[in-house]
Chain length 221, copies 2
């Protein structure tokens, strides 16, 4: 079923308000989120209920159907993939991409999304650290802690752990001045070998992919 730009925005808003589309959402909260009026929301809700995108009972709020959730997740997927594109390929700051992605997320072409995903090497997180839903609609539970290798250019993170606990590895890190609690900024990711150039304090350090896969970080939000 083809939905309008506006309908997609409503579904996305309801999805995020219901913290994974499973609980009921009030009319007013949707109105606030979308900067519109409750009466407008009621009208739109009725339309979306007719299209079987959500279940609606008067005065009781709404809850997404499986179809509604699918549309919402796909819209979020597109939004986040485009954000990665803007930051990684067009060198936008992660603070500038939201508005543009709000527009790009409504471009309708499944093939375009798939090709974009491939072009970006199937990123798992957007520039804000939010997980990108897969083609199958599965969305990772946002875990606070992720591997440095899953981060992208320009993110600022704090080292929170390691996968490899061998002293060899830990001494290596210590010699670089990298310990738990250290704040890092990802300056560059070399396509060729997935090595990272990170900034810690004033120093720039290059880390191989083997190293970044063994450093756990939390996003600085």
């Amino acid at each position: 079923m083809k939905l309008s730009y506006t309908e997609e925005n409503y579904l996305k808003a309801i999805y995020t308000l219901s913290k994974h589309g499973k609980e009921e959402v009030s009319t007013n909260s949707i109105a606030d989120k979308l900067h519109t009026k409750a009466s407008s929301v009621t009208d739109m809700i009725k339309k979306l209920a007719e299209k079987k995108m959500l279940n609606y009972e008067k005065y009781k709020g709404v809850i997404l159907t499986a179809s509604g959730r699918k549309v919402a997740i796909n819209t979020i997927r597109k939004h986040r993939l485009w954000e990665v594109f803007l930051v990684e390929k067009l060198n936008f700051g992660w603070d500038e991409v939201h508005e543009i992605a709000e527009q790009l997320e409504h471009i309708s072409s499944q093939k375009l999304v798939d090709r974009l995903d491939e072009f970006l090497s199937y990123p798992k997180y957007d520039p804000h650290g939010d997980p990108i839903p897969g083609k199958d609609g599965k969305i990772e539970n946002r875990s606070e802690i992720i591997e440095l290798s899953n981060c992208i250019k320009k993110q600022i993170v704090i080292i929170s752990g390691v996968n490899d606990t061998s002293s060899q590895f830990l001494i290596y890190l210590k010699n670089l001045g990298l310990t738990i609690g250290t704040e890092l900024k990802i300056i560059e990711i070399i396509d060729f070998d997935k090595s990272f150039v990170i900034q810690s304090g004033k120093k720039h350090i290059t880390l191989s992919n083997m190293v970044t896969r063994n450093i756990l970080v939390k996003l600085n939000t």
Copy 2:
């Protein structure tokens, strides 16, 4: 002035119908182009006239103002840049990109367009061989004959001439089996040195940038 998706489409249609926005365009021709009705066109025309995008005299057709031309050209610029992106970066066929570009051309962000242009290395032609207007709005007169070096991946062209007429160069071409009338397909463009891998018959041939700048081709449309 911010215009709607639809208004932009009208201006673009009028621009192309008037073969560079200088001559008058009839209501019916616009209706045909946009697959809509003449009465709808009249309504929209009045609106665009109020916004000073075109001059309108009842029963006499319309002609774009400078502002109207600017909007039209910018929309075309965006359309063609996105087409290059889709073909060059996402490996779409040049026959699949039009519909998607019709949507992408309405994304409004000057910065996005400029960055995209840069990311694509300021292409001069879209995958169909149409010239891409510059940031300044200047658009090249479509010349049938262009240099091979200005072509992009996947284009199929016919050799139509050379810039360097030295026998040294011509013998080199002849030994490769490349003569006037030969049909080529551009298989790959090496970013590093702008050399081309082209296909002629069953053979793949690599041509340096110096060579491609001296081969003139016409697009196979």
